[in-house]
Amino acid sequence: MTTADGAVIGTTQIHGNAPRNKAFNIVLLGDGFTAAQQGAFDAAATAFVNALLGTNPFGDLRPVINVFRVNVRSTDSGADDPAAAGGTGATARTYFDASFGGGGIRRLLLANTTTVLTTAAAQVPEFTLALLVVNSTVYGGAGGSIGTYSLAGGATEIAIHEAGHTAFGLADEYPYWAGGNEADRQHHPATEPGEPNVTINTNRNTLKWRWAVAASTPIPTQTNPNPAVEDYSPSPVPAGTVGTFEGAHYYHAGAYRPEWNCKMRNLGVEFCAICKAVIWNRFRPLMTQEVRASALMSVVARYPEHLDVFAVGPDGRCVSNWWDAGSGWAGWFSLMGGVAAPGGAGSPITAISRYDRHLDLFTVGTDNRVYSAWWDASSGWSSWFVLGSIRCRPGSVVTALSRYTDQIDLFTTDESGRTMTLWWNGGGGWARDWVHLGGGIAANGAPVTAVARRPHHLDIFTVGTDNRVYSAWWDQRSGWSGWFAIKGITCRPDSTVTVVARHPDQLDLFTTDSAGRIMSTWWNVTGGWANGWFQVSGGVASPGSDVTAIARYTGHLDLFVIGTDNRVYSTWWHEGGNWAGWFNVSGGVGRPGGQVAAISRHAEQIDVFVTGSDGLAYSTWWNGAGGWAGWFQLGIT
């Protein structure tokens, strides 16, 4: 029985309209359906779509799921059902040669996988998952590189479980191999499984799903008192609790699963939270990302051919995407379940790279505490952890800078508006707690910004409660100065004072005054502070939009802002000349009060990131050779 026993009739898309090159494309192929039975296959395909989209989290992911039905005519109806495996002894001439009785077990439904894969690839080259629907009411199915299932009631559950393996790399969570109580399945070998939903590790601090475990949940959460057999005792914690439950990955003990139950353990139940997160993260790169317009995206170039972007979704979820010159944009992914604080403009994530294989992140969580996480090329992402004891205003910004590789300085405002600092260094780790800087109190919503002109010098800025701009400085030799006013303007209370050090003896400041006018002043070592502020080329910002400034080289500045018409504007200054007029960047439109993130990976390159008028993350770039590119949705390329 071969492909001579039938023919491909055609392919029909039965769900979704996502671009095929950025979608999860499922192909359903029929076997054992004669030409006259194609209606039964069509009905089975529709039933699968309904079952899939009724299973969490696939329903939420429907915008990036396409389902295709490949109608294939077979000479005979049904599938082989060998008597030796307890079947009827029937044989059927079918295109994919489906047969029950694999390995002598009637329910094991196998087929010619090469034919299935090559047919799927020919019909839908972009397919992600191929499933074979076999025209029989005998219960059966199988997993592997393709999934097979029959028309028996409940068999779609097989397909969804197998998709867990084939498409998402999930492990089986059941605690036995072939039925249970096997003597050779008592204790899992001492090797950590590679799959994301099983582990032999019960260390809370290094557990692979530690980000989802509440501090109040005991670890291990449930142990097997008698490893000679599987433990089916009830869960000691409420349903849905993530912890470590002993008995998984084909062993009675020594391996743990994240929840008491999961579709990777039993059919007919939901996926556990960790499997759902894995599935989400498989899909998320295919999706565009809604981001808070008012919370600045943070972008870091660990090296010139690489960008890491961090953003906060409308629900506060912390997400990231990265671009590499060799591979393009990787797509958005969740950052360890972190949720940034709402309130005001909403807390952004701030990111720094102390060296090219390391990232440090900071945000204010929903409990208004300061959180941090880090990524290292050698170990991946850490969990989020709390820094110090302060509680911030909802939506506060944590400003972070690294004066040198082994030093981090943080600045924020606490719930009283006090300007606070904390530091870390490679020798001593994190300081014991936050320190109030010089009695400073910031206006409601004003962040503390900072720059290091030299490795042992800091300049910090904020808007005070009288809405004037204030500064202070720290030098290793003399410690912190007191706060002093940089007179000449009155700001909005939530204005950000943006600072750039084009070289160690120069500071350029940018902010918006109470009328939204974009104002600047400067300091240099020879002349001190300039006499007052000036408006930059007549620019006025959208209320709540801050000025972003970058220095591509010593004698050049580029500014970005959302204007009063919500368009994305830029201007520049070149040494020896005046400020250029403001221009709209590639026709881009942001949201009222939106923020523009910009970075220069090298002197002739600017990358810009904005929340578009539709709430999605967009980017464009400029380079010296080609000028400005068009805007594109930030997702996967």
Binding site: N21, K22, G102, G103, L108, L110, T113, T114, V116, L117, T118, A121, P125, E126, Y139, G141, A142, G143, G144, G153, G154, E157, I158, H161, T166, G169, D172, Y176, W177, A178, T191, G194, Y250, L267, G268, R282, P285, L286, W323, A325, G326, S327, G328, G331, R357, A377, G380, G587, G588, V589, R601, D607, W621, A629, G630, W631, F632, Q633, I636, T637
Partner: protein
């Protein structure tokens, strides 16, 4: 945004053709052979050179043998098959006595890509040797990318 959407990457021209390759491998009794290469326009997720591969994977290499990307292949040559009981009955596993089948993987294939190598991580070094020398992966299949697919 009001401007037309222009997909692309910062500072990089949009490639002329699809930058991914679908590979279909057949295996039988431990022997693996590549039976199909197909250029496809699809975004490939989940590849990373910074991670040490712990599972079977396809490594895309340039003409000099340098790795460009690695894509994991879960259970490429399965030793067992999953059997499902009637609803409410246990799921079980049985040995795959046939040891014959096929699997597919889609890999990033930029213009510099020249070879695709299916590999399995080498066996763990004995405890005393850990940290001294990494164990070489086992090559299951090493194939040139066909000229028509480059």
């Amino acid at each position: 945004m009001s401007s037309p959407e222009t997909p692309g990457s910062p500072g990089e021209e949009t490639p002329d053709g699809p930058a991914a390759l679908r590979l279909i491998y057949e295996y039988e009794n431990g022997e693996v052979r590549l039976v199909s290469q197909q250029r496809v326009d699809v975004a490939v997720t989940g590849f990373d050179l910074t991670e040490a591969p712990t599972t079977d994977h396809v490594e895309v290499r340039d003409i000099d043998g340098a790795a460009l990307s690695r894509v994991r292949v879960r259970d490429a040559l399965p030793q067992s098959l999953e059997v499902f009981g009637e609803p409410g009955e246990a799921i079980t596993r049985v040995p795959d006595t046939v040891q014959r089948g096929a699997f597919t993987v889609v890999v990033p294939a930029p213009s510099a890509a020249a070879r695709v190598v299916l590999q399995r991580p080498g066996p763990e070094a004995p405890p005393g040797e850990r940290g001294i020398e990494s164990v070489e992966p086992v090559v299951l299949s090493d194939d040139a990318i066909e000229e028509t697919q480059r």
